[in-house]
Amino acid sequence: MINILNYFSSLAIPLTIIVIIFYGLKEKKKTFDVFLVGAKEGIEIVLKMLPTLIGIFLAIGLLRSSGIIDFIVNLLTPITNFIKVPSEIMPLALLRPISGSASMAVAVDIMNNYGVDTLIGAISSVIMGSTETTFYTIAIYTSCVGIKKTRGILLPALVADIAGILISVVICRILS
């Protein structure tokens, strides 16, 4: 079962690439030239992101090495034990809806400390991949039409985030 899942997971990228290139060839596009345009834009995206990453990694690294994260994790342990969520992922769960770059730094920090290929590493990865920066998304889409009355859209969005986090834990536990 796990091997089958891993196999299909590993097929996702190669299959996507081949389908897209196939379409490019079928419609007689200059695939390599087009690829280069996109790849160059990718480099720009990463370079623009680097200052943010440096600032955020610094803040999150300080939070951990000062012992504050351990302090918070210990405080939350009774609650997380009750809902069967490893307390180590709680800093990630708390920051994920608020900031994309901060949650990325926390995820890297967690995987560095507990190992990428451990249960905690897997849970952090799945949470990062399956949830979004909810607050930011809501802010962008309400402000672009100048709406202030959001009728409580934050609530179902956060309910979905919590569901995503709990499901991530369950799936990783089943697969590990």
Binding site: L5, N6, F8, S9, A12, I13, T16, I17, I20, I21, Y23, G24, E27, K29, T31, V37, G38, K40, E41, G42, I45, M49, L50, L53, I54, I56, F57, L58, A59, G61, L62, L63, S66, G67, F71, M104, V108, N112, V116, S125, V126, G129, T131, E132, F135, I138, V145, I147, K148, K149, T150, G152, I153, P156, A160, A163, G164, I167, S168, L175
Partner: protein, 193 residues
């Protein structure tokens, strides 16, 4: 948000570290953090460029239109109030497809366009319509075919199998999206009473 959180995180950490006698750890951390930010960016340079390049090819073909057509019936069911407006349906579908393909930079402007079209149909201009609520929820659910960022992080940290999380991510995001959609429907019904 980060203008508030960032200074709080840093000052709190340094004060706490001095209080608990962990000044050396803090000093080492400052340089380690910079190194891991740069290290991660180098991995990102490879994966994100590759993916952006591949998706640029996808954008140049009719693939996105085809996927949009496949999605249209689902969009019609999720947005019953927009049934007469093919243009908005199309805009919503393109935004979702862009999200699924990981075209984050393209998805947001497309989404803003869809929001503006929905605002034209909106009867109370100062309040989100039902369709807008559903649309925002779909955008807060991370529906992504290939979670490129996570794979880059896992690669940079030396994972044995960086892509093994793809199917778990799909399952988790679909479940989260379904829960979110149901929650929005409940919220809309309750609001009407």
């Amino acid at each position: 948000m980060l203008n508030i959180l960032w200074p709080i995180f840093i000052t709190l950490s340094i004060v706490y570290a001095i209080y608990t006698g962990r000044v050396n750890e803090i000093n080492n951390e400052i340089f380690d953090a910079l190194e891991s930010a740069v290290g991660l960016s180098i991995t990102f340079l490879g994966t994100i460029s590759l993916w952006n390049g591949i998706m640029e090819i996808a954008k140049s073909t009719t693939l996105i239109n085809k996927l949009t057509n496949i999605l249209n019936p689902i969009v019609k069911r999720l947005f019953p109030e927009l049934k007469n407006n093919q243009k908005v349906n199309q805009e919503i579908s393109i935004n979702i497809i862009a999200n699924i393909l990981g075209l984050g930079n393209a998805a947001t402007p497309l989404g803003i366009k869809a929001m503006k079209s929905m605002q034209e149909e909106n009867k109370r201009k100062d309040e989100l319509s039902n369709s807008m609520m559903m649309f925002i929820l779909l955008n807060t659910a991370s529906l992504q075919l290939i979670p490129t960022n996570v794979i880059a992080i896992r690669t940079s940290l030396g994972s044995q199998n960086p892509t093994s999380i793809i199917i778990p991510v799909w399952i988790s995001s679909i479940v989260a999206a379904v829960v979110g959609i149901l929650a929005v429907k409940v919220l809309i019904k309750k609001g009407r009473k």
